[in-house]
Amino acid sequence: MRTAALPNLKKRMYPRMHQWIWMTTLPLLLLAAIVLAPLLTPQDPYLITVGDRLLAPSEAHLLGTDHLGRDLLSRIIAGIRTTVGTSLLILACSLLIGVTTGLLSGFIGGLWDRLFQRIIDAFMTLPDYIFAVILSGLLGPGLSNLLFAVIAVKWVGYARLARSVALQEKEQDYTALAVLAGVPKFRIVLRHILPHCLGNVLVLAALDLGKIILMIASLSYIGLGPQPPAAEWGSMLNEGQVYFTAAPHLMLAPGAALMLTVLAANLFGDKLRDRFDVKTREEA
């Protein structure tokens, strides 16, 4: 019993440190890669050298070259900015729109809330991926249209969560007291209700990051994302598909990059959930 209890005790002593290391390292690495991508690429990811096309991995090209002789490693690194950077941007925009509208709707209530609910219902009639495909298809291919389409389907989840927290918290005594004390509504939302929903929303957001990355890549894969010559993992998979039998590394490299990033994002999300979700923490 004692031997079993000891590691638990240890775990309890340093849980925060472990979790914070997890929580900060991955986003920092991703952010660093996004910001420093142009400096990290060993070669110009857009430089076409037709004489070097479809080369196998070698010292000069660690991951080989693609169908236009571009260095694959450089394109994978440049793709971090397009794929992961775009996903983070989508996440930030969805959070901002979703949380703001959700909190206000829940707190103000009445007709506005009912109207807002119907809008949310309309957005949730279709699975988010199908909705994104339809929207992107209607808007046409391109990065900005892709951004719009994914934000349009992703903000809803945060709005619903934020609204439910706002509904719960506005019944609390401290909110009533703040109202009685004459604190402006916007300030009440910002100072008293927002902090309560932030933890849950962040957990949801972290768990969503992997899904958004996959959504971006899959929309690009079917040709609805950034257009050539943009380095984007999904479109690189699409381009490599034609050469799969002759040069499988064209699909394996972006596929592996995508898989590792989504895995890292999901692990990060799980850790964040463990940290903020009281229920899972107690179970652990």
């Binding site: 857009y46 076409i48 037709v50 004489g51 096309r53 479809l54 169908h67 236009l68 002789g69 291919p141 040709g223 257009q227 050539p228 010559p229 598909q241 034609v242 050469y243 799969f244 039998t245 002759a246 040069a247």
Partner: protein, 518 residues
Amino acid sequence: MSSVNPVKPRNPLRLLPLLLILLLAACSPSPANTAEPAAAEHGQTDKSLTLLFNVQSNTLDPHTDVNYTAVRAGIAETLVRISNDLSLQPAVAESWSSEDGQHWTFVIRSGLTFQNGQPVDAAAVQASLERAQAVNPSVKNSLHIRELQAARQELTIITEKPYPQLPSDLVHPNTAIIAAELAESAPVGTGPFRFVSFQSGSQLKVERNEQYWGGTVQLAQASILFNEDANARLLALQAKSADIVYRPPVESFAQLQADDSLTLESLTGLRTHQLMYNMNNEALRSEQVRKALDALIDRDAIVGSVMSGQATAAQGPFLADAPFSPEYLPKQFSLDQAREAFAAAGYDVENGLVSRQGKPLSFCLLTYQSRAELPLISQLIQASAKELGIGLEIRQVDNIDEYLAASDDWDLATYSSITAPRGDASYFLNAAYTSGGALNYGNVQEPELEAMIDKLNGTVDEQERNRLARDAVSYIDAHMLNSYIVHPNNFVAFSNDVKNWVTSKSEYYLLTPELDVE
């Protein structure tokens, strides 16, 4: 004395015939390839074959289908055929003649019937040609028919003016002769194969036409599947789910050549990959700008890399050795030459970058996936243009013909067409460079050139026709009305079990009566 025969041990060899039968049964090919006794009695076999084609077809109507599937599949035939040496051969028409190039007499093959048993006489051919002209304006525009007269097996065609290339224009699959009913969903023609079923964009099944006029049809059934993914086509061939594959991925050549069970055929085709300019764009109306953009095309790099050597650099619309090809102006990939041409067109060129009133140039370049090399060629041009500070936005569309016909929001477009499928230049010149021409998507309007083409249309003498065609092509070349990039090879990979396959230079004929499988 009674003798008791001892019980002999059973001879295991007695079972040998049975074992052999079982073995043979196990080794027999799939049921589709097995000869059925009933069919064999008639000297025919119940063999089937699957062909995987690279461009999908959404309709079977031979008069409107830009993919010519009904003719390629041997369902319908035209009055006249073209052989691989580009000579005209009789098909539905037994013979044809004209004294003045304006009044033509086509003798329809006697005793010929449609696959539904209906006789094919001159009236039926007239009805079919009238339908083709009614449903397809480009057929009407190219044939210039003023009047059709049918008398038993003789069809008289009177053209609006002397039109000597009429027989070669009647090779075009859109003029195929079909029975009037159900032309769109289940065409009935005179070809070696009858229609069985069609799934738009997916597959076509046909079966032997027992009454075929041209002799015994070897295959009992055949399927044409459509798949635009070159890799999927290759895998289907390797998995033996297809016997013939049109255009496997060019990168797989070495792999295919190493496979003893397959044959790879590659021959110079009559197709030309090209770059179209939209003349509705003010900048592209300038000849110098078009010349500058042409100088951004690295033809040698495209042949050597993108086409893996399976192509010839194109200097003009037709292969250089064609009798109607002039001495083309030399075309060179040179960024400096491009800069000079832009400067001559009045653009500012500073530090190697081209701009107008301080604004960089940008164009929208259309491309499509069904010819996998075209998006790559587009990216090569895009990279060269970037060196000059010119932005090329590549837009990939699904159906290029539909898009070009319906939209005008493009500046440049990669395109591919068979420019001289019938050994005559006039079809392409009429289609691509006359107002209202079926392939004049860029709205080229050159009265001088149109007059040349007009004169060509009315000339009978072949030498003179070739000379006029050369003049017209020289004009196109000098004014850079289109940029011609490469002539890709026609390549087909097929299983060694396939017999009598002939890769058609014109790409008009895939399933033939002689085609067989072991």
